[in-house]
């Protein structure tokens, strides 16, 4: 019964499949080993060039995100693996009305790993129920984008040596900023971190995010960047998302609410770092780019390395 045993082997392999759908899918131990592996990769990337030889990653971007797609695809290629995918989501069987469950069943027969970006929240989780191979969530609507969080953590760990004991200023759109919510919950897993939430009153952190972390970790909620910039070890800036606003005037007012410039940077600690998930708008002036405390371009580079480590970890190649 070839068919039966084939089905059986899929079911068996499913038992051991690990996914990365939400940040908490990785334990602190998993994170530790992924970060250590990332260190090794950064040190000698060549050494890993055949690790994923003959492995195939399906890169399913049902919504365009060039930046994230390139980062994942480059990660897989640098591990010696191959990538299958599509250039235009409108030509896929999804667009022709196939269910996501069926698409997943079929593709997980071809690939060793699936990365998925979808405008629908919970899409990656839904796929993981039908997949026989690991699923990585590369962003599901406004819900989660866990590899961005992984990138942020890796950058903090690199520039500040540890992930604990920091005062972290989070500034900008704290209401709708998905990466910010994930980062806050990720950093709250490490001891002795303190948060200063800096936002216009209209864009304050939602209660459901604030209530989910240890309240003693919240130092202050304020709307003043200038008053707080000298107190923080890490300043995480974010942009105001236009699509969240009905009124153009309101958007423009809030977009330019905070502008980090050289003048403000004078008040910051010598070893403070400025981060940003990019792309930025006006919230960081170009004059800050040359400040050595500005690490947002470096931060993006860690994204590829940490994705390499994540792929290896989920495929048990670590």
């Amino acid at each position: 019964m070839a068919v039966g045993s084939f089905a059986g082997s899929i079911a068996d392999s499913h038992m051991a499949v690990r996914n990365y759908i939400v940040p908490t899918d990785l334990s602190l131990d998993d994170l530790r080993s992924i970060f250590a592996l990332t260190d090794e990769i950064i040190k000698d990337c060549q050494k890993f060039q055949d690790v994923c030889k003959s492995k195939v990653m399906a890169s399913l971007f049902f919504e365009p995100s060039t930046r994230t797609k390139f980062s994942f695809d480059a990660a897989m290629y640098r591990l010696g693996g191959n990538v299958i995918g599509f250039a235009d989501p409108n030509t896929t069987s999804q667009a022709k009305g196939e269910s996501l469950a069926d698409t997943t069943r079929i593709i997980s027969g071809y690939a060793d790993l699936i990365t998925v970006r979808s405008p629908y929240e919970g899409a990656a989780k839904h796929m993981s129920m039908y997949s026989s191979v690991p699923i990585i969530n590369a962003g599901d609507g406004g819900h989660e984008h866990p590899t961005q969080t992984l990138t942020d953590l890796m950058a903090i760990r690199h520039y500040k040596q540890t992930l604990d004991g920091h005062v972290i200023g989070i500034c900008g759109d704290l209401k709708f900023g998905r990466t910010i919510h994930s980062l806050i919950s990720a950093l709250s897993r490490y001891p002795n971190n303190k948060f200063v939430f800096i936002s216009p009153p209209e864009l304050q952190l939602p209660d459901y995010v604030a209530h989910n972390i240890d309240q003693s970790m919240i130092l202050r909620q304020t709307d003043s960047l200038i008053n707080e910039i000298g107190n923080v070890d890490i300043l995480y800036m974010s942009r105001v998302q236009k699509e969240r606003f009905v009124s153009e005037a309101e958007y423009l007012r809030l977009r330019d609410y905070y502008i980090l410039n050289a003048e403000k940077m004078k008040r910051a600690k010598k070893d403070m770092v400025v981060m940003h998930p990019l792309p930025r708008l006006n919230e960081i002036s170009a004059e800050v780019d040359s400040d050595e405390r500005a690490i947002y371009f470096e931060q993006a580079r860690y994204g590829m390395y940490v994705r390499m480590a994540l792929i290896m970890n989920l495929l048990d190649l670590g």
Binding site: S99, L100, A101, S118, P119, Y120, E121, G122, A123, K125, H126, D140, G141, G142, H143, Y208
Partner: protein, 140 residues
């Protein structure tokens, strides 16, 4: 009172919030069972002013999740040989499926045919549940 009091075997769902009885009747699928079922509405009650009440003359499998979700304040009486064998209050279920719908229009559960998506209790006081897919908060 009436015929109902002579219930020998079955279940009495008491202290239903007045007006909710009809909803519970259908949600439990009582319109589909063969046994004698009685729905009483606006029954005078000392505690509640008015209440609804349902009696079912059979020991059918009661979906306590549905009941708990619609009205967690009801009392269940299990009747055997004309006596109340068991009487208990309900609790909000920790997880439910098949009753709630996610309120988030961008949720994958509206895009795909997902019949029984899970919802997990999030805020007991407000009776809020969280969607297993998108984590959005929803309620009945």
């Amino acid at each position: 009172m009436i015929y109902v009091d002579s219930l020998n075997e079955g279940i009495v769902i008491d202290h239903i919030r007045a007006g909710a009885g009809f909803d519970i009747f259908f949600q439990l699928g009582l319109d589909k069972i063969d046994s004698v079922v009685l729905l009483m509405r606006n029954v005078p009650s000392e505690k509640m002013g008015r209440k609804d009440l349902i009696k079912v003359e059979s020991n059918f499998e009661l979906n306590l999740d549905i009941l708990g979700l619609i009205d967690p304040n009801v009392t269940i009486n299990i009747i055997q040989d004309g006596k109340i064998m068991k009487k208990f209050k309900l609790e909000l279920p920790a997880a439910v499926s098949g009753i709630l719908k996610c309120k988030n229009p961008r949720c994958i559960s509206h895009r795909e045919e997902i019949a029984d998506s899970m919802f997990y209790l999030y805020d007991e006081q407000k009776r809020y549940y969280k969607c297993e897919y998108c984590d959005s908060v929803t309620w009945l």
